[in-house]
Amino acid sequence: MALLELCDIRVEGLSAPRLQSINLTLHSGQLVGVIGANGAGKSSLLKTIAGLLTPATGHVAIDQQPMQQMSARQKAEVMAYLPQREQPQWDVSVIELIKIGLLQHRLSRSEQQLRIDQVVTECDLVDLSARALSTLSGGEQQRALLARALVGQPKLLLCDEPTSALDINHQLHTMQLLQQRSGQGQLVLCCLHDLPLAARFCDQLVLLNEGKLIDVGAPAKVLSDANLAQVFGIKAQWFCEDSGVAWLPQPL
């Protein structure tokens, strides 16, 4: 059964539509990468699903239930959203930041603690949990923010460029973590700029260009020569092995 359905979504922008004619159906247990050039509509797609942008036409349904019919709390229990750039205003500790993700969840204290402990371990934050955010590096802060999104154990996780501030080790760690979450039955939808990373970890890719859906499917299908040429204006040689994916992109 499909977890997420987008039917004929159109989101207006200032001069041109941010998204138009988006029809997309995604299932649980997948890590889905949203790719495209700058301004393609990747963030707008995630914001529309998160309910932050209101579509002019069409509707979004989660678990067969239209989003408009869901209460704010219901939405928060079903999905979590990690924006592209998040700058916490107050210098709270890592644990206090993570707890924000559970403020509207109806959980016992012991259950809350269990989830926090789990996510702290998963995100490699054990040694940093008591530290104030101002004492962390950008990458460590990004991991803390990801932990905040993960702690609610949402069915649908929306991450806007979750690896953007991370070093290569933590990029891999984060993608493995998201892959692990999708393996546990969650649908993880994340915008990515790093195409080899997307090709290596994602089960499916959604390719956008100028607000339109160009292609959806397995990475090998979506990252075709024709798509790369049309969307990014490049051609690429791919080197695929079990241990990873590399590429050699060149302008057309």
């Binding site: 704010a72 928060a76 999905m79 644990i95 924000i100 403020l103 008591a130």
Partner: protein
């Protein structure tokens, strides 16, 4: 997480007790604690105790209102005057007096001030209606505040005589002189209601550590809860204005003092700003009475004169610590 160390708690509690004793014993008549005459009892119970309680209550209300606005607007420079409630309270009071609708001693005057404050809030809510963007609230607040200040200036300029000018201007300067239990009774319900509203929406203030966009996905009814919090601030500020006039700087300074003492979590900053505000206003009132001649200075003037350099000193100390 940096918790407020116990020694600092004790120091603050000790300072509060010391300043309270000083505040209660201050005045032309010396009180013998061991043996109070009837006159001394009357002075203590009818003059000094209500004033002390009014100082504590006003300090708590302003501290809470300041911290709430800083957390809600995600802006460390926010303070109660920003949303124009205090200006509107003072404006409606002075306007009613100017047009001769009520006399200076009318018991309806505080209600007029309260209604004015709530009217200011209503205008802000209408201007920022259903918007998630806090900048609309700030801009609407600045507009309302500026308009109220301008209209008040006009009314004061057109005051029929210097005596009226002096009486009316006290609403804008803030004073704790000549206050009684009745003033405290005006403040108390506002304080209780404000705290109750804040307690019911406190989680949103914690969540606003993150951007409004993220908070909108965390399950909060953002607009209605934000409006409830603004109502709490309006009630707290209006209660303060009706009982003592506009007292600036306490609302701005109290949360900063708590942060500079090492507390950063929104909930602790919020609730600790109440005693911090009380302690600050207690100090300001003592200074006011020490430096005043036969005619007492408005505490609002002293709060600004002492508060501004104190804020700069605290911020410079914080800056030095960051550099080191």
């Amino acid at each position: 997480m940096t918790r407020l160390p116990d020694s600092r708690w004790l120091m603050l509690a000790f300072s509060f007790i010391l300043l309270s004793v000083w505040h209660l014993s201050q005045g032309p008549v010396t009180l013998q604690v061991t043996e109070l005459s009837q006159l001394q009892k009357t002075i203590l119970l009818d003059i000094r105790l209500p004033r002390w309680l009014l100082v504590i209550g006003n300090g708590m209300a302003l501290g809470l209102a300041g911290a709430t606005l800083q957390l809600l607007l995600r802006n460390p420079l926010a303070e109660p005057g920003l949303i124009g409630v205090s200006s509107m309270s003072a404006l409606t009071t002075v306007a009613v007096l100017y047009f001769g609708m009520l006399g200076m001693s009318s018991f309806l005057l505080p209600l007029v001030a309260l209604a004015g404050g709530l009217l200011g809030l209503l205008v802000i809510l209408l201007l920022a209606w259903r918007q998630h963007d806090v900048y609309r609230v700030i801009l609407a607040g600045v507009a309302v505040s500026s308009l109220a200040a301008a209209l008040m200036g006009l009314i004061l300029y057109l005051a029929p005589n210097p005596f009226a000018f002096q009486e009316w201007s006290l609403w804008t300067l803030g004073t704790l002189a000549n206050r009684s239990w009745s003033h405290l009774l005006l403040l108390l319900p506002c304080l209780v209601l404000g705290v109750a509203l804040l307690a019911s929406a406190r989680h949103l203030l914690t969540a606003l550590t993150l951007s409004e966009q993220t908070v909108a996905t965390l399950g909060f009814k953002l607009v209605s809860q934000r409006n409830m919090i603004l109502l709490a601030v309006a009630v707290l500020v209006a209660g303060s204005v009706v009982s003592a006039g506009i007292i600036g700087f306490i609302g701005l300074l109290a949360p900063h003092c708590i942060r500079l003492l090492g507390e950063q979590h929104p909930q602790r900053v919020l609730w600790l700003s109440a005693p911090a505000g009380a302690l600050l206003l207690l100090s300001m009132d003592i200074i006011t009475r020490v430096i005043s001649g036969p005619r007492e200075l408005p505490v609002g003037i002293v709060a600004a004169l002492v508060g501004a350099p104190l804020l700069i000193a605290l911020l410079m100390r914080q800056y030095r610590q960051q550099v080191i």
